[in-house]
Amino acid sequence: MSDETIQSSNYEIPPEMQGTVSITSLDKVYAWSRKNSMWPMMFGLACCAIEMIVLAASRFDIARFGMEVMRPSPRQSDFLIVSGTVTKKMVPQIVRLYNQMPEPKYVVSMGACASGGGPFKEGYSVVSGIDKYIPVDVYIPGCPPTPQALLNGLIALTKKVDKERIKTSEWYAKGSEAAVPVPVLGPDLMDPRKYALIYEQTHRPIEPEIPAETEQKEG
């Protein structure tokens, strides 16, 4: 698919060897080979998952980007497409799957629901965006994004991967980030990082009007 060469422009190649020899940096080879074989995780959530399946089928065919190897196991996948509404009941599983993915790992938030809750945001069992729990690399708006819109997002992801360099990439830095704590299902979804806040909020003296529920109009 990609016609671009990995040849670095800094080096001159004798004319008789052009076309057979390329001189390039390790960084470039590394990024080039990685971006051309990104394996998504076979993980569908909701409506958007159908469009994701369609993307793998013949009309849009992600095999053209080296992404056709959908792995059901997180251990073998490079990126996770959060394809659809993220419910509170599902968040612990998603976080666990994300933790199980080998680094470097990427997350594509597909559709309005995954990015910010979508049309179901106002309800009681949907979280307002998966990025509250795991880091997201590419956001794709739409409800649902058409397969071409999703492809556009995946190309954006490969561009991001292409820019990464071994030395500067956070994935290989010392003290790479620890696993994301898995939320717990309590009376509502509980993020272990917020326990202190929850305690503080639930043990406040009861006021006549709880500010959390009133409409604050500012700005």
């Binding site: 909701a46 089928a57 509404t85 809750g117 179901f120 106002e122 649902p144 009376p187 009861i206």
Partner: protein, 579 residues
């Protein structure tokens, strides 16, 4: 057929037969009967055994907050066809206890659990009354009218904060946790002990203890992230060797509070939300909802709109069935090549949907009293090309490739058998019911729209196994094709809408239940209106949800590998199961 319809079309006045125990529902706009809670079991038993009402279609909880009452609405049918017998049980709101129908109709199983989970109605006698869509430990019963979600703004839409003094920024910034969260006062997260799974696993481990030769059963979890579960669906199976001795589905991983949002929405605003129920066949969902509201409003769409509706619904059915063959192949291990063929056909139909409605999947095309817009130029010709040439040809190709294939036959024949009695008792509907030898199709049993004028057969097969479910779908797709050929031939010119398009419709007070034969089965919408712009209660009788009741019956005694196949053959969509 027509003679029979006349005889079954009458609903007996059961208030005469059960005098003193049953009274007529006399509220304006309501129909049916009210049964005293203490007489419910006798009355239902008699209805089933003596009057032939053997199919419990839906159980709906309604919260009448101003009256301080909880109501449970039952829709009962005869499996030979005819309209519904509707009866209700009313109980006080703060002590909502109703006898469970589990032992008379197994189809009540999940629906009662749902009513317990969301409305807090306790069903006495239900053996496994756990939460189903939320999780064990969830605070409150969210569909109760006095329960407020974290982002609660107002009782009904449109919210006043959007205009003329609009808000800016994200709504979660007003929440102390910056997310859609709330906790009861005095709650301490450190001392919380999650209890969700214990009841579930306890019932799985009990199995097999009392056998002579004491062998250990292994409890296996499939899902919610599993390539064969068609979404976020989970099954807990106890295995004795390779054999399934116990299986409990766990759902709710895609519970998107469709019904709570539906009660805040105006009638029209619900239309695009219905698309997201069964997201593979959104046009059918539109159809059911439009019918239910039209019933309340007492309007009928013009002729052309009816034809367009049926055309869209049948295209959806064809597409859905072909899609399900792709999944069947997938589940049999032929990974993705056949799926690609199925999806190609689907793409061509989606092109039509996109041209007509503007979106591939979320069509939002039906309006009350018609459809949103007329067919654009050239679309009808495209449909003609498809239904007269490509669709029959491709179906034959699928038939040729699949029906005689040895792997398909060896694995599917005799797998996941559901008898006719079980199917009716479990409330199975659609191809699942008809594959078990029950010729029940709503398009014939209780005709709506223009189906009574169209020429088609009710497909029925008799073995009730996976192979017959497949054959039923195949033949049904052929019948859809036949309907489509008649529709594109006869479609008249004319208006596509009764009255003027309006974003605020007047819906008189009352209740209505509209049902259609969706590709997956009986899709029903139960709506209670108080005359306001928003429905008071909006309940979806989702076919996939109730069809799943049969999963355990199909899988028990079979091999674990066949579980995947059985699940695939039920043809579920999680958007509809969990709503």
């Amino acid at each position: 057929m027509s003679e029979e319809q006349v005889t079954v079309a009458q609903i007996p006045d059961i208030s005469l037969q059960f005098e003193g125990r049953v009274v007529k529902d006399t509220r304006a706009g309501y129909s049916g009967f009210i049964v005293g809670a203490e007489h419910l079991l006798d009355v239902v038993q008699t209805l089933r055994d003596e009057l032939g009402f053997d199919y419990l279609s839906s159980v709906t909880g309604v919260d009448y907050l101003p009256e301080g009452k909880m109501e449970v609405v039952y829709h009962l049918y005869r499996s030979i066809g005819g309209p519904a017998l509707v009866f209700k049980v009313q109980v006080p709101r703060d002590e909502a206890v109703v006898p469970s129908l589990y032992h008379i109709f197994k189809s009540a199983d999940w629906q009662e659990r749902e009513a317990w989970d969301l409305m807090g109605i306790r069903f006495v006698g239900h053996p496994d009354l756990r939460r189903i869509l939320t999780w064990e430990g969830f605070a409150g019963h969210p569909l109760r009218k006095d329960w407020k979600e974290p982002y609660f703004e107002e009782e009904t839409k449109p919210y006043k904060s959007r205009w003329p003094e609009g808000i800016t920024g994200y709504i979660e910034d007003n929440n102390p946790y910056h997310d859609n969260l709330q906790y009861p006062a005095g709650f301490d997260p450190e001392t919380w002990i999650p209890q969700a799974e214990e009841a579930l696993y306890a019932s799985a481990q009990k199995i097999g203890r009392d056998k002579e030769l004491h062998t250990d059963t292994v409890v296996v979890n499939l899902g919610p992230q599993h390539p064969s579960t068609h979404g976020v669906f989970r099954m807990v199976a106890a295995l004795d060797g390779e054999q399934v001795v116990f299986l409990k589905p766990v759902v709710g991983y895609l519970h998107r509070n469709h019904e709570k949002i539906g009660e805040r929405n105006t009638y029209l605003q619900n239309m695009p939300f219905t698309d997201r129920l069964d997201y593979v066949s959104s046009m059918s969902n539109n159809f059911g909802y439009a019918l239910a509201v039209e019933k309340l409003m007492g309007i009928k769409p013009p002729e052309r709109a009816d034809y367009i509706r049926v055309m869209m619904a049948e295209l959806t059915r064809w597409m859905n069935h072909v899609f399900s063959f792709g999944f069947l192949w997938n589940d049999l291990g032929s990974y993705f090549t056949p799926m690609i063929y199925a999806l190609e056909e689907r793409e061509l139909i989606l092109d039509i949907f996109e041209a007509v409605s503007g979106s591939r999947m979320m069509c939002n095309y039906f309006r009350f009293g018609g459809v949103a817009r007329d067919l654009p130029e050239g679309v009808l010709n495209k449909v003609k090309e498809l239904v007269f040439e490509r669709m029959p040809r491709q179906l034959d190709a699928i038939d040729k490739m699949l029906s005689t294939n040895e792997i398909v036959r060896n694995r599917c024949i005799g797998c996941g058998v559901l008898t006719a009695e079980q199917a009716i008792n479990n409330g199975a509907s659609g191809p699942n019911l008809r594959a078990s030898g029950v010729p029940y199709d709503i398009r014939r049993a209780d005709p709506y729209s223009i189906y009574d004028r169209l020429d088609f057969d009710v497909v029925v097969h008799y073995h009730g196994d996976v192979y017959d479910r497949y054959l039923t779908r195949l033949d049904e797709a052929r019948q859809s094709n036949r309907i489509l050929q008649q529709v594109v031939r006869d479609i008249p010119e004319g208006p596509i809408m009764t009255g003027k398009p309006a974003y605020q419709v007047r819906v008189p007070a009352g209740e209505a239940y509209g049902r259609v034969e969706a590709p997956k089965g009986e899709l029903g919408f139960y709506i209670v209106s108080t005359g306001k712009p928003n429905p008071w209660r909006y309940h979806v009788r989702a076919p996939s949800f109730i069809n799943l009741t049969s999963l355990e019956d199909m899988c028990r005694g079979g091999k674990i590998a066949d579980v995947v196949l059985n699940l695939g053959a039920i043809d579920i969509v999680l958007g509809e199961v969990d709503r």
